[in-house]
């Protein structure tokens, strides 16, 4: 258990800068997620905190104490690996005990026994202590691996994509197992993932990393509803958010949004209109998630005609890419809808549910959820 501070961390491999000027704090017992696409630099950051790689610039502190020149083995960090790395020939009991029988962390046998049993009851492993890893389920293996890391009372847990190698079904279940155990961990945790559902489900806060830099740090709600940039918006959700061009136009003394794609003008919620007005922009980018796109198989007032271009089944839903004259739009429909390729479809847009970005800098301006959140807090 420790407060972890990372200040202006930079790491270069030859001429390429893998991580650039990264700073963040992990509160005591916080579950902090580093989230980003492959190659963003997430694992590089984790490795520097573990002491596996040295930073070129910047500082890493545990409870205010600099760790930069402390060896990995002296930092008391616990890593949980993707493949759990349990000893196959030892029982679950022996596996959990093993981390208290190493040279650096040796404990008396009665302490070991007490600790193993305490952790086992915490992780619901009591009945399984005599079994070998091959005789327990994947979820139980994961819990045993966590238990082995927990008995050491580490300063910080480091987890690098622990669920990435599982198939979709198991990954879903394991994510929930991990979430169920979270409040029992009682340890500061840094979790690396490229799966947005893991990040949103597990993280107290999420740092979104792109090309070695932090785009945004915030709670799941903040990064989902108020993404700092269009990049962040695109990273969350099963179906990638639609970013449509919009033009702001004054009509009858109110500011309206015109979408060239549908060639219609839309009323804006008051707060959104005020902030957009104040920004002084004429052009904006409008981020519309699938839920803000309605569809119909028949022509309806206010709907734009398009054709189904691709169908991508994603579980119990299907992602449709629809080609309209003004461009392509993605939306999700239930799996029971089975349109044909090139079938005609009609779309309508709920711009009040949109997230508005500066069309040049691609940075966040405003969204409706922002006001809802503020009013809720009052």
């Amino acid at each position: 258990m420790a407060k972890v501070t990372v200040e202006n961390l930079t790491k270069k491999y030859g001429k390429t800068t893998a991580v650039r000027n990264i700073s963040f704090d992990l509160e005591d017992n916080e579950f902090f997620v580093l989230f980003g696409p492959a190659g963003a630099g997430k694992t590089t950051i984790l490795n520097m905190i573990a002491g596996i790689g040295d930073p070129d610039e910047g500082r890493i502190c545990f409870d205010g104490q600099s760790m930069n020149f402390i060896e990995s083995s002296k930092r008391n960090v616990a890593m949980v690996f993707e493949n759990y790395a349990l000893y196959p020939h030892l029982t679950i009991y022996e596996n959990i005990a093993s981390s208290m029988r190493t040279k650096a962390h040796r404990e008396p046998e009665e302490v070991i026994d007490r600790e193993v049993k305490r952790i086992a009851s915490l992780l619901r492993l009591e009945g399984l202590l005599d079994r070998k890893p091959s005789q327990v389920s994947n979820g139980q293996k994961q819990r045993a691996a966590l238990g082995r890391a927990m008995v050491r009372k580490p300063n910080i847990f480091l987890m690098d994509e622990p669920l990435a190698h599982l198939d979709a079904k198991l990954r879903n279940a394991m994510r929930k197992e991990l979430k169920a155990m979270q409040d029992k961990l009682q340890t500061t945790t840094l979790y690396v993932t490229h799966d947005y559902a893991e990040a949103m489900s597990l993280g107290d806060r999420i740092a979104v990393i792109h090309q070695g830099e932090i785009c945004q740090i915030g709670t799941a709600e903040e990064v989902y509803n108020m993404p700092a940039t269009e990049f962040v918006a695109r990273m969350f959700g099963d179906s990638e958010i639609n970013i449509l061009q919009g033009v702001l136009r004054r009509e009858d003394s109110t500011l309206k949004l015109v979408l060239p794609l549908s060639n219609r003008s839309y009323e804006l919620p008051r707060h959104t209109a005020e902030v957009l007005e104040a920004s002084g922009r004429k052009q904006v980018d409008v981020g519309l998630r699938s839920s803000a796109v309605r569809y119909s198989w028949r022509p309806e007032e206010g709907y734009v005609k398009g054709t189904v271009y691709t169908m991508e089944p994603l579980g119990n839903k299907v992602e449709l890419t629809v080609k309209t004259e003004g461009g392509a739009v993605r939306l999700m429909v239930p799996v029971t809808e089975t349109p044909d390729v090139d079938e005609t479809i009609y779309l309508a847009f709920d711009v009040s549910g949109g997230i508005y970005f500066d069309s040049d800098s691609k940075e966040y301006i405003v969204c409706q959820k922002e006001t809802a959140g503020k009013e809720g807090k009052r």
């Binding site: 389920s137 979820g139 979709a168 079904k169 879903n172 279940a173 994510r175 929930k176 979430k179 169920a180 409040d183 947005y196 559902a197 949103m200 489900s201 799941a220 709600e221 989902y224 509803n225 969350f236 959700g237 099963d238 998630r289 699938s290 839920s291 271009y309 691709t310 169908m311 991508e312 089944p313 994603l314 579980g315 119990n316 299907v318 799996v335 029971t336 089975t338 044909d340 390729v341 090139d342």
Partner: protein
């Protein structure tokens, strides 16, 4: 008319008396011009089945009929089948044109006709610009297009595709899937696609044959497979997030109500539709998809339970209830937040509660979704009927 018929097909790879069957008593009737997906986990016998149709594997027992004619011993080249495998198996030193033309030239088709057919099929598969290229330099997606073009150029009666999209990245897979669907709509050639990817089968096929360990578990339209799974295997295999499958014991009360008691002692009300199918103290497996459960208030509920894990995933939220070692998960669009330990009241969509025999895994009390009993489980003779129910539901 059924174009391709498999009658009680068995396949053994070795002769020993106790050698395992790779395919066991497989019967399928495939209508002309339809698109059939054979779906199952690795080792379920799907590729073996395809290879028997192609004539690449001998059939141990049973009959294979193509267009009404028994074909067990007809050589592969005379069966009128076109084959495209996952690995493209193109001739690397030859150009795209020569690869596609290869089998026509081998059959001594006149030069002018070869040229005309190669160009026509290249246009269909959108590889016209590549005809002069060597195949070595093509991308995976282009290679697979050429591969399918080569299979199609001989005007096969049946097109066989073995995991044609597995090698490709997601973007390319999406595009080629669209192409394959369009192609089939155009040429209406009877097509069999072998895949382990349920999403691929659900989006492409008119009918899906689900196999497990050499045995056909269900044959039906994608909607039948999804909405009316014939057994626990199909219910568990199809759908993402997966169907919740709970081990329950039935308790019927004197007043006609009934409850399912779960392993942890909590109780779920049995939908009326299923009450006539259950016996008191009978043990069953109950299935319900995460999207068929909804939150309700205490006035009218089927299940009172406790939240173990709540996840807010932006667009939707999941609530998981723990039953011993497993979770029962529901998906909701409601914005309300919950935390561990909250009591909730859940209503199940009564039409979408599935009941399975605990011993055999077979479905009990079918027919909620279609309003009539469909029996897609055995394929023999049921294809026409299946297609009826399929079109009714569309």
């Amino acid at each position: 008319m059924n174009h391709l018929v498999l009658k009680h097909i068995y396949k053994k790879y070795s002769n020993g008396a106790d050698a395992p069957y790779a395919v066991k008593d497989l019967s399928l009737e495939i209508p002309e011009g339809s698109f059939v997906g054979i779906l199952g986990p690795s080792g379920c016998g799907k590729s073996t089945t395809l290879r028997m149709v192609a004539g690449l594997e001998e059939i141990t027992a049973g009959d294979l009929e193509i267009a009404g004619k028994k074909c067990n011993h007809v050589p592969s080249k005379d069966r009128g089948v076109g084959l495209a495998f996952e690995e493209y198996a193109l001739y690397p030193p030859l150009t795209v044109y020569d690869n596609i033309a290869f089998c026509l030239r081998a059959k001594k088709v006149p030069k002018a006709e070869v040229d005309q057919r190669v160009r026509a099929i290249a246009a269909t598969m959108k590889v016209e610009e590549l005809l002069k290229e060597k195949v070595g330099g093509l991308s995976g997606g282009q290679k697979q297009r050429v591969n399918i073009a080569r299979a199609l150029v001989r005007n096969p009666k049946i097109l066989l595709l073995d995991e044609p999209l597995s090698h490709l990245d997601q973007k390319m897979r999406q595009i080629l899937r669209r192409e394959i669907k369009k192609l089939h709509n155009e040429i209406k050639c009877t097509t069999i696609l072998v895949t382990h990817d349920q999403m691929e089968a659900l989006s492409l096929a008119d009918y899906i044959a689900v196999m497990d360990q050499g045995v056909l578990k269900q044959f039906g339209t994608p909607k039948e497979i999804y909405n009316e799974p014939a057994n626990v295997f199909v219910a568990d295999f199809i759908g993402e997030p997966p169907m919740n499958l709970l081990t329950v014991t039935a308790n019927t009360e004197g007043d006609g109500t009934a409850f399912f008691e779960m392993e942890d002692g909590s109780c779920i009300r049995v939908p009326k539709r299923l009450q006539r199918n259950i016996e008191d103290k009978g043990r069953y497996i109950m299935g319900i998809r995460p999207t068929d459960m909804a939150l309700t208030d205490r006035r009218d509920f089927d299940w009172e339970c406790e939240v173990d894990v709540f996840e807010d995933l932006g667009e939707e939220r999941t609530i998981s209830i723990r039953i011993r070692e497993d979770f029962c998960t529901m998906v909701t669009q409601e914005i309300q937040k919950y935390k561990k330990g909250d009591r909730i009241h859940v209503k199940l969509n009564p039409e979408r509660v599935y009941l399975f025999d605990r011993e055999t895994g077979e479905r009990i009390g079918k027919g909620g979704y279609y309003g009539k009993d469909v029996q897609p489980q055995r394929a023999g003779g049921n294809c026409a009927e299946s297609s009826d129910t399929g079109s009714l539901s569309l």
